[in-house]
Subunit: 426 residues, 2 copies
Amino acid sequence: MDSVKVGIVGCGTVGSGVVKILLQNRDIIEERIGKKIELSMVADRDVEKVKKLGVPEKFIVNDGFKVVESEVDIVVELIGGTTVAKDIVKSALENGKHVVSANKALFASYGEELFSAAFENGVSIRFEASVGGGIPVIKALNEGLVANRIEKILGIINGTANFILTEMTTRGISFEEALKIAGEKGYAEADPSLDVDGIDAAHKIAILASIAYGGWVTINDVYVKGIRDITPLDIDFAHEFGYRIKLLAVAKPDNGKVEVRVHPAMLPEDHILSSVDGVFNACLIEGDFVGPTLYYGMGAGQRPTASAVVADIADIACGRGSSVPVSLLKRGAKIPVKRPGEFVSSFYIRFTAVDKPGVLAKISSILGKYNISIKMALQKSIALNGGVPVVMTTHEASFKTVKVAIAEIDKLDVIVKPTFLCMIEE
Amino acid sequence: MDSVKVGIVGCGTVGSGVVKILLQNRDIIEERIGKKIELSMVADRDVEKVKKLGVPEKFIVNDGFKVVESEVDIVVELIGGTTVAKDIVKSALENGKHVVSANKALFASYGEELFSAAFENGVSIRFEASVGGGIPVIKALNEGLVANRIEKILGIINGTANFILTEMTTRGISFEEALKIAGEKGYAEADPSLDVDGIDAAHKIAILASIAYGGWVTINDVYVKGIRDITPLDIDFAHEFGYRIKLLAVAKPDNGKVEVRVHPAMLPEDHILSSVDGVFNACLIEGDFVGPTLYYGMGAGQRPTASAVVADIADIACGRGSSVPVSLLKRGAKIPVKRPGEFVSSFYIRFTAVDKPGVLAKISSILGKYNISIKMALQKSIALNGGVPVVMTTHEASFKTVKVAIAEIDKLDVIVKPTFLCMIEE
């Protein structure tokens, strides 16, 4: 039986999970793939920690570059970040090593450079764990749906944000309270901004869009808005209109461009993604032949993420190549990305206005002037920051026009607070 | 760019879909995989039909064995059945051709023989389309979750049966009425028994169980019960107890054996599979590291099924091997399968009894004698075939014991109709 030598760089949460799998399930994995997997080297600053996992001391080093320069066939980069991790990955590739990584930020920033280096050196990069944790969604998109033009990707791909919105929805609590619970449960970092500001989801959708549309989409191409300004009030209004609020990642092609965005969105309550709650992730991928398909599971955590990393190791051991289309391996593949001003959507808009006659007329006359067509409107006598909420949903309209109209409305003396705007995904 | 020559045997619904994909999406597929796909030969008795799809006449033959004996690299078997299809596949393999197929019956009956022939001849078989239509669930199980011991597979993998049960549930109609609608919509065949009697789902779960547990499970190893005796009354009672009735395919390991079954089951209404409605399919796969994962999409139909067939062609073109574990390729891999008498489950039981005092006491004393513990009981004064329904759910009990107890109860003179029994999957 052939064997493949694996070196792990970074033995934190995910790295320890990979070691655990290789200790517990190696027999069944080797039987399935018909190759031996040898864990030859583990690099971590904390040698004692690695020893406690059951890795013999002779296999442990304290410098990731020692792994890169060793005899391993596959370098598993699990240190995260885009600085040292990039150097490790780049030199691994240049040393003719295959790379497995869970690093979404790295590939959403330097995908083109790194895959191009892999191509030039005749080695593979796989990074299933970078999106959707243990769910094999990159494999599904790149291999399973290879026959399809991808019409749309809708993802709930940040478990922390989804947990917070689920808590807010089911318990009627504020963002701050829900964030606190997420922190207590270990779902939110001390600095939660990567998660709640949508940046982590933006990294992930950039990767999925790159694979689906065959050109590198980077984090800078993604329109990003987080969930900090979602209030229980908007969650309630959403419910009255038949919607759930989710932090949604969207990628879809339109007229030779790709639209890639991450933001809170209202989804119909009977939409399959509306029932994805808590820390779970799900990705809805629609192809022109296959129709809608959904992939669901744990989007984070030691064990699910390690499951995806080991699947990548097995795939490389079986010679299954990189986890992006061959067309992406060559430098320079680019696709035009839409600017936010080009987005078209239906919207939920909440104005905060003084409780006087004529307010609705003033607002709707400005919307009318911009040809923004109102679908439903609701005015409630709830005191809110010195005003009352006036809530509307619109038919499809240009994001740019809606923002211009709202800016004009917000200058009206009947408006007492900046207006809240949220896209609706039907 | 390397190229791969493909020959299709059988150009019916799925075959025509494959031709359509290769005509419409070949550009994008070839870009993604970096290989050319040449459709070199199509065999069908109806040559005119194939010409109408846009296949040049010189590529069309009327005998599948001509494809097998030609220069093609991959034979795509899409004639179905287990007689001629088996001969075609066997001789293709012996002629050194890779095989792609959508034929669940073939592999659930002759998987061991055919994969062993593939192994001996150094070629691959892929059959993604055989389970879950366009959903890449075999790929997920065999490759994406390779690092996991599979703790459970729960599948809704027959779209026709699921459509019928969904219609019965949402519209309160009988099995016969729902079957008629399924026929009118083209979801049910003239002879619907493969679908409604659970045989198609049994073929599919046999294949999934074989992959998950590394030993061949055949259709004869699967306990199968269909949905013909499901009534609107049981659907209503299920709802009162908080359950939905689905035709469920189950595979799970227990104590060195594998339990593989297909039957109507009650699922809690908030179970993720309970919301899989209509012709949609979904498969919940739980691994020891990844936790629960779900794969959802169109389980049948020309376009989704063809999507899976073409993905297999692409995988073979990329040298990705067979879609079963290497351990399955060798003849003789067997795993012990549980007999139905060994199943343990909680149950829903509906007795039809005369409307007299003491009936419940008689029934429950027999259940008590067999140590079957009642969880909930409900007696209603609805006239039903000369009796009233007495409905119960039980705690976990042996299937064998429950059947013995029911046989004894059914002999009581207060029981007027044979008792209805349904497993509950919590």
